[in-house]
Amino acid sequence: MPVDLPMPRVGPLAEHAPRPIKVVLNWGRRYSLWVFNFGLACCAIEFIATSMGSHDFIRLGVIPFAPGPRQADLMVVSGTVTDKMAPAIRRLYDQMPEPKYVISFGACSNSGGPYWDSYCVTKGVDQIIPVDVYVPGCPPRPEALLQGIIRLQEKIAAESLSGAALRRKYAAHRTPSAAELSRPLLLDARHGPAGQVAR
């Protein structure tokens, strides 16, 4: 029996809260970043290294146990974004609840990196989703990701979560419909809408 729960949201209370309360709210958000790793290539290994014992980003409040994008606050795109993967990234980003943040990790997701010239590589993940922090390198060292996370936390601390500020950040991007979030990504050659194979 499904329980009908209201959607948790950053309501007018947070919007009109006095400054000290906003500081507390921002403090709470910046040190509880459930992260969703979009690992696409070699950089993902550096991301994993950062989450492990010797670098340990959990001490910065980054929690790598989000079961999926719907429970995550932060998406780290680490690796080569291809044009075929791009719709999947956009869709998983759309599934994340607001406020949400994106770190682009590595030359590939920043700009296409060494594959800039390729016919199939997207020239930067910022062409499809808004990026908050770029971490340069091929691959960046784990310390660079820690630095990127601290940068993001500084940004969150300075943020105002009023409705207007949220709209400024996300409204330039369309809001997806429920159907878009659950549509299949690939056409099945045998049962595609056209009923036949292209080409």
Binding site: W116, D117, Y119, C120, L186, R190, A198, R199
Partner: protein
């Protein structure tokens, strides 16, 4: 692994010759691909290449590279009757180079359909004639062109204006960048 033996095969004997090598013990299909040789002076076309291994003695692997030259537009006979698994490689080679494989059959009856490229992708990206369209709309973000040496850029201070015409780089007729 080191390729120890390469054999050129006439186009007409492609399937029968591959079959001969299989009966000589090269019964493990490693991969199949093509090489764009359309700028060769004699017999321009595409080299279709297949790599076979003899795995009967794992400590002494033998391998053979079989190659045939296919003129642009001509079809090469499919290896799927010999190796079923060649279907994946032939589908990829077809979409990347636009080479047709006559008699292709992977058991689905759907023929040579795209495998890796995104839906609606137009063109055959691994041909040398395929334009890298990103170059037409954005300047190359690197400090150096591919093939440019290390020393000269450092000495002159500014990135060199000289353009190395690598295959696929849009010519000046494509407009300013």
């Amino acid at each position: 692994m080191k390729v120890t033996q390469a054999v050129e095969i006439p186009l007409a004997e492609w399937v029968s010759s591959v079959g001969d090598h299989v009966s000589q013990g090269f019964s493990y299909f490693d991969w199949l691909t093509a090489v764009d040789q359309t700028d060769a002076t004699d017999e321009p076309g595409f080299d279709v290449v297949v790599h076979l291994l003899d795995v009967t003695a794992p400590e002494r692997l033998r391998s053979v590279l079989l190659r045939t030259r296919v003129p642009d537009g001509a079809a090469v006979a499919s290896l799927t009757p010999v190796f079923h698994g060649a279907a994946w490689h032939e589908r990829e080679t077809h979409e990347m180079f636009g080479i047709d494989f006559a008699g292709f059959d992977d058991g689905t009856g759907l023929g040579l359909r795209p495998l890796l490229l995104p839906d609606g992708f137009e063109g055959t990206p691994l041909r040398k004639s395929f334009m890298l369209a990103a170059r037409a709309s954005k300047p190359w973000p690197g400090a150096k062109e591919p093939g440019e040496g290390h020393g000269e850029g450092l000495r002159s201070g500014a990135p060199s204006r000289r353009r190395v015409q690598a295959p696929g780089v849009p010519p000046p007729e494509w407009g300013p960048r």
